[in-house]
């Protein structure tokens, strides 16, 4: 098996496993993490496609730039998602004085 094919398969397995986890798990943070596993899987697939040029050449700059863009965007979404989770799981107005801050 070629290295490109290996990484294509690895990316596919990661992406599918992450997707299944996202659909099945209830815990919001676990979902968010699973979403990032899907993200990593997709980016592995992309970069493996970019590495098809040959073993000696560096990966194609265009696909590398695309992967960096994809990474930054995924981080932005994850950051906002994490903020939403904090809000959802944060204290409700009624237990304002309860004070269970971590």
């Amino acid at each position: 098996m070629s290295a490109v094919m290996l990484y294509l398969l690895l990316g596919t397995v990661l992406a599918v496993a992450g997707t299944v986890r996202m659909l099945l798990v209830r815990d919001l943070l676990a979902r968010l993490i699973a979403m990032n596993v899907v993200g990593i899987g997709s980016l592995v697939i992309l970069l493996a496609l970019g590495a098809r040029g040959g073993a000696d050449d560096a990966t194609d700059p265009v696909l590398s730039a695309l992967v960096i863009t994809g990474l930054v965007i995924t981080v932005a979404f994850t950051g906002f998602g994490a903020v939403l989770i904090r809000r959802i799981e944060g204290p409700r107005p009624s237990d304002r004085d309860g004070g269970d801050r971590g």
């Binding site: 098996m1 070629s2 490109v4 094919m5 290996l6 990484y7 294509l8 398969l9 690895l10 596919t12 397995v13 599918v16 496993a17 992450g18 997707t19 299944v20 986890r21 099945l24 209830r26 815990d27 943070l29 676990a30 968010l32 993490i33 699973a34 990032n36 596993v37 970069l47 590495a51 098809r52 040029g53 050449d57 560096a58 990966t59 700059p61 265009v62 590398s64 730039a65 960096i68 863009t69 990474l71 930054v72 965007i73 981080v75 932005a76 994850t78 950051g79 906002f80 994490a82 903020v83 939403l84 904090r86 809000r87 799981e89 944060g90 204290p91 409700r92 107005p93 269970d100 971590g102």
Partner: protein, 351 residues
Amino acid sequence: MAEPVDWVLAAAALVAAAVVVLPRSLLPHTRIVQVMGFLLLSVVTSLIWLRLDSVDVALAEAALGGGLLGGALVYVASGPRRDRPSAAATGWLAPVLGTAAGAVLVVILASAWLRVEQTMPGWTDPLQEQLPATGVEHGITGVLLAFRAYDTLLESAVLMLAALAALALRQNTDPGAEPELASFRHTHAGHTARSATFSWMVRLSAPVLLLAGLWLLFAGSSDSGGAFQSGAVLAALLILLRVAGTAPRWLAPSHLNAAQDRLSTVPGRIMVAALVAGVVVFILAGLLGPLVGEPWLSWDPAWAFAVILTVEVLLTAGIAAGLYALYLALEDPRATGERTVRHRTKAGESR
């Protein structure tokens, strides 16, 4: 051909992913264990990028995906959590069906890849010939800031808007709301009381991080690195300083915690200005072309380098500020309060 190192990396990635995705019934783990699994996966992925000769992507993954994201997830995982009904209540059928469906999907996609990979024509790209005209030598920076500058602009805007949205969620901005929450000013006190050793270590590593960030920024034109990697390192520096409680006052806008300040304080203004400056200047620089009759985002070779450098420095500041703002928004859910007029939330909660 795949060499042993590829197999080892792939196996390591699968193990790390398994820690993240396996259900609780198979692998008893808490949120923090899952986050650690994700961090491990991120480290392995960085190594895979290196293996695929993509230093830039490896740097971005390590700084953004591993460092900052991991930190943020740890923060959420260790935070307070309203207990929900246990996940085990879903029974065994759904996980089994899900896994089976996933396995079938992997097999289908794998066979598709096999077929596609055999038939796919190779390709070479015309990038290297055009590069000298852009004012930068490094291929990826050239793509990001010259050929596809427009993508980079929109992508920076995504990060900027994510940060602004996160800040909006932590503020009390509902018109007609009563000012309150003065008592929450002090909720943040816990963060300043760190051990002396920790703050000493932060003081020691801060200059190193600063240098690393600046080096990544300015090396980007000729070598691996660039605005995103540099911004991530600088944001990490800001977060460390804040956690250690050693940040100078203008860098650590503790005022942001008090909901009624609405970012109108001086530190808040600096923060917002840094956030939007990159995008604003990028667009204004893009307007230079149309002013002299050229297309949008085109720069005369004579001053292309100066424009690109200015834009890149401001973008870096914006990215660092954006990531830092996301962290600040994560920090203190108390400060948001809940002032939405009751009837407006009813519909959402009833379903």
